[in-house]
Subunit: 312 residues, 2 copies
């Protein structure tokens, strides 16, 4: 069964004569006539009466009409959907990133996607790098945004570095140390230190330990750790906690004046490069490229806003 035949059949129902229908589908009259006959033979029913020189549909034709129109409509609709997928305007994308990117990436990205790609289905996993890596390897997500250095130890990944962020100590603007200009590590340690413990590059951990003499395991020195950034962020508002975090995670809080960056010496002279991590052997559909484009735009916008921060 050929959908071309079905289109001919439908054209014949919609036109007063065979020749008019043939012209509509850009076919010669004999070819069109043969096409209809072939359909009749394939279906094994007479679709048109040819008693007089006028073709008139039989009850079979009227019954088959619904089927033919449905099939042709399905085909067109399906092709349209594929084109949408091809142009990235439709499809499904599964991605992930850490909760520390909530303000600067997750929220603006979702706003943008909901506005720009209304027919795209989004599956958003907010988690730390280790679970996201697992989701990536089991093909449950297409890519995730995380520490680009992960790719150094995972040969099956490819990374596109997008944003280099610094580290710093943060506290509430109401904190006793907020106005202090010369803070050393002993003063920091007098307050509850908190951290959002996702993946950390071993080199980062080592550097941090030596910088502040935090031996016998870095994490043991923190009072609160969580995989959820919103939780440790909350502690800054409700307590005297001091948070070690990336600058990108605190840009909005600093902008609104609720949180300040502490002037600690020696400063937390570390960098973390964020990037898009994906499997090397896996080709992603266009919709993923579209979403990654949006992520790049978000990072550029964040870059500008970080540069405008007064306390940088």
């Amino acid at each position: 069964m050929n959908t071309r035949q079905l289109k001919h059949f439908i054209a014949l129902l919609d036109n007063p004569s065979l020749s008019a229908a043939a012209e509509e589908v850009h076919l010669s009259q004999p070819a069109f006539s043969r096409s209809i006959r072939a359909l009749e033979e394939q279906l094994n029913v007479p679709l048109f009466t040819r008693s007089d020189r006028r073709l008139r549909p039989t009850p079979y034709a009227l019954a088959w009409e619904a089927t033919a129109r449905r099939i042709v409509m399905n085909e067109n609709e399906g092709k349209r959907h594929l084109q949408m997928m091809q142009s990235g305007k439709s499809g499904r994308v599964a991605l992930g990133m850490g909760s520390s990117l909530m303000d600067e990436l997750i929220c603006p990205l979702l706003d943008k996607l909901l506005r720009d790609l209304p027919e795209v289905q989004i599956n958003f996993s907010v988690d730390t790098s280790a679970p996201l890596l697992n989701l990536l390897r089991t093909r449950q997500i297409d890519f995730f945004v995380g520490d680009a250095s992960i790719a150094r130890y995972q040969q099956d990944l490819v990374v596109e570095s997008l944003f280099t962020c610094g580290f710093a100590w943060y506290a509430s603007s109401q904190h006793p140390l907020a106005k202090t200009t010369d803070i050393d590590i002993a003063m920091i340690k007098a307050w509850p230190m908190v951290i959002a413990a996702g993946y950390f590059d071993p080199a980062v951990v080592e550097h941090m330990e030596s910088l502040y003499d935090l031996h016998s395991g870095l994490y043991q020195h923190f009072r609160v750790m969580s995989n959820d950034f919103q939780l440790v962020r909350h502690l800054l508002d409700s307590s005297d906690a001091i948070l070690a975090a990336t600058d990108i995670s605190m840009i909005r809080a600093v902008e609104t004046g609720k949180v300040v960056k502490l002037h600690v010496s020696p400063p937390l002279a570390l960098t973390l490069t964020l990037g898009i991590l994906r499997l090397a052997d896996c080709e992603l559909p266009p919709v993923c490229e579209r979403v990654m484009d949006s992520i790049r735009q978000c990072f550029k916008h964040t870059e500008i806003r970080r540069a405008q921060l007064p306390n940088q």
Copy 2:
């Protein structure tokens, strides 16, 4: 777009390997491979990744799968419907007959059709011959059951004669004349005469007028005429009316003892042949043949029951 390709595509999704799918659709492996490639080229999207020697569906394939299955299902369903129509088990039939056939034909026919042809849609017009003839000519009904002699004056009709019925005078079993064995026309005229006035063959009218000296127009001598037989039938139960009617219309009423046939002399020695009337140039679908078969069976059954009537 060919549904054969779509079946190949579906088979490939349903089977672990290309060769298994090729076997399922009874095709050689190379031909099957080419069929899939052709579909990919027609749709202009990669449906399967061929990185390793294993074919794995792309997101495009998963999106197209729904379309392909819908199209194939529609085709199968549509073909099945045509086959049902061809065997007469499905379709639409529009027919008509007079209300005097209610007991002996309309009711048992409908019972039979509802039981035997559950997928057939029935459009039943109950009317006299003249309107039915009009419906027939405007193709609003496929055929009707009526006086076969109509075809003598209507050359565009063909008739299949099925049942020859007699005429007689009827009255309620409670009627004063019910027990009278020798009734003449003067005694009949003393009571209100009623008749269901559908089409009557001019020869019948003429004969009836001469038989009972009912000149200056036959119908003027009747107190009640109606195109609805149930109405005049009702008068027999509720009044002293006397009804001139065909025997077939009264079989059930006589069987149940509510109505009796009057012994009038001279008797109403007329016959009316009922038959199936249809247009000569119009070929009817199989479902009509099925329904006409049922009508023939009903008439046969009525023939037997009429023969068993005591007062015949």
